[in-house]
C-alpha cells in the first residue's frame, strides 16, 4: 500500500539502527527519492534540506533518527520510490529502488496539513 502524499509535502523516514561495534559511532544517513516516470533522483539538499543527517550511537546501543526529504511541487501524480543511504557506502543501505518497500504515491493537488501514517517496517540484511 503506497504512502499517499502531495506535492510540496515532506517525506520523513524514521530509521532505527544498532551499533554492533565496540566503539561509539557517528554515522550520516539520508533518504533519497526517485520519480519513476522521470527517472529523477532527488536528494535532500536539492530541496534545501540537510543532505546528510548525523546520528550518534554508543557501542552496543540502538538509536532512531528522522531523515527528511520533500516532494517537489511539480511531482503531482508521480509514483516515487525511496531509499535510505548510509554515507560512505555505495548504494542503498536498506533496499534499493523499487525493492520490496512500498512506493510513495503523489496525489493530485496540494497537501493537507499532516498525514502521519507509518506504513512500513523493513529489516535489512545489514
Amino acid at each position: 500500500m503506497p504512502l499517499e502524499v502531495y506535492a510540496g509535502e515532506y517525506v520523513v523516514a524514521t530509521l532505527a539502527w544498532r551499533n554492533t561495534g565496540p566503539v561509539s559511532l557517528v554515522k550520516e544517513f539520508q533518504v533519497s527519492l526517485k520519480n519513476r516516470g522521470r527517472n529523477t533522483i532527488l536528494e535532500p539538499q536539492e530541496q534545501g534540506l540537510p543532505d546528510w543527517t548525523p546520528s550518534t550511537c554508543p557501542p552496543g546501543g540502538a538509536t532512531t533518527i528522522e531523515l527528511w526529504n520533500r516532494i517537489p511541487g511539480d511531482w503531482a501524480n508521480a509514483d516515487v520510490d525511496w531509499r535510505i543511504v548510509l554515507r560512505g557506502k555505495e548504494g542503498a543501505l536498506v533496499q534499493d529502488w523499487g525493492a520490496a518497500q512500498a512506493p510513495i504515491r503523489v496525489g493530485e493537488g496540494t497537501g493537507l496539513a499532516t498525514v502521519g501514517i507509518p506504513i512500513l517496517t523493513v529489516v535489512s540484511d545489514g
Binding site: 515532506y10 523516514a13 532505527a16 501514517i117 523493513v122
Partner: protein
C-alpha cells in the same frame, strides 16, 4: 613439535616446545585450541636456559584505547576498525625465584604466511617480585585503514629477548570498513509531513 604442559600452566594456554632454536617472530605451525580453526596466535617464549614457567600468562584481553574489549576468551571473529591501535592487557605472574622486568611487544599482520608482522612499541614492565601478578599493556600499530573489509588479522604477543618454547593461542579478528561496519538496520518507517519540523 610436541605439546606439553608447563609448570603450573595457566588455564587455556598451550605450550608448544619447538625443539629449541626458535627465532623471535618466526611463525610456527599452529595448534588448534578447543576445536577452533587456526588463525591468529599468541606467542610467548622463555628466556634461553630458563624455566618457561618463570613468566606465566594468566589472561590476555585485547581492547580499544577507550577500554572496550574486542578480544577475550570465547570471542571469535570479532570485527575491528582500521585507524586505531589495539591494546593487549597482559595479566602475568612471575613464577620464578628472582624479580623480573620483562618487555612485551604486540604485533599484527594480515592473515597469511607471506604477510609481514608489524610490531608495535615495546612495553616494559616494572620489576616484579617472585609470586607477584601484574598487568602490562602493550599497544599494537594503528590498524591500517587501507586493509580491505573482511581482512582477517593475526595477532602476535611476544616476550622480548626470549627464545625456545612458544606459547600459542589463537583467534581471528576481521577488519571491517568503517563505512558499513557495525551498522545494523532495525527498521524504517516513512510518513508524510505538511511542514518541516525536524
Amino acid at each position: 613439535m610436541t605439546q606439553q604442559p608447563m609448570n603450573q600452566p595457566p588455564e587455556r594456554v598451550i605450550i608448544v616446545q619447538t625443539g629449541g632454536g626458535g627465532i623471535m617472530g618466526q611463525l610456527l605451525p599452529l595448534v588448534v585450541v578447543g576445536g577452533v580453526a587456526a588463525g591468529a596466535v599468541w606467542y610467548f617464549t622463555r628466556r634461553k636456559g630458563t624455566n618457561p614457567a618463570d613468566i606465566r600468562l594468566d589472561e590476555v584481553v585485547v581492547r580499544t584505547p577507550e577500554g572496550l574489549p574486542i578480544w577475550e576468551e570465547g570471542m571469535t571473529d570479532v570485527p575491528i576498525l582500521g585507524g586505531v591501535p589495539l591494546i593487549a592487557d597482559i595479566a602475568w605472574t612471575n613464577m620464578g625465584a628472582k624479580a623480573v622486568a620483562p618487555q612485551f611487544q604486540f604485533a599484527l599482520r594480515r592473515t597469511g604466511a607471506t604477510a609481514t608482522w608489524q610490531e608495535g612499541p615495546k612495553a616494559s614492565s616494572p620489576s616484579v617480585a617472585p609470586g607477584v601478578s601484574v598487568v602490562t599493556s602493550a599497544t599494537s600499530i594503528t590498524v591500517p585503514k587501507s586493509w580491505p573489509n573482511t581482512t582477517t588479522i593475526d595477532l602476535k604477543l611476544m616476550l622480548i629477548g626470549l627464545e625456545g618454547a612458544w606459547w600459542l593461542r589463537e583467534d581471528v579478528l576481521t577488519i571491517a570498513s568503517e563505512a558499513e561496519a557495525f551498522v545494523e538496520v532495525l527498521g524504517v518507517e516513512i510518513r508524510a509531513e505538511g511542514s518541516y519540523a525536524p
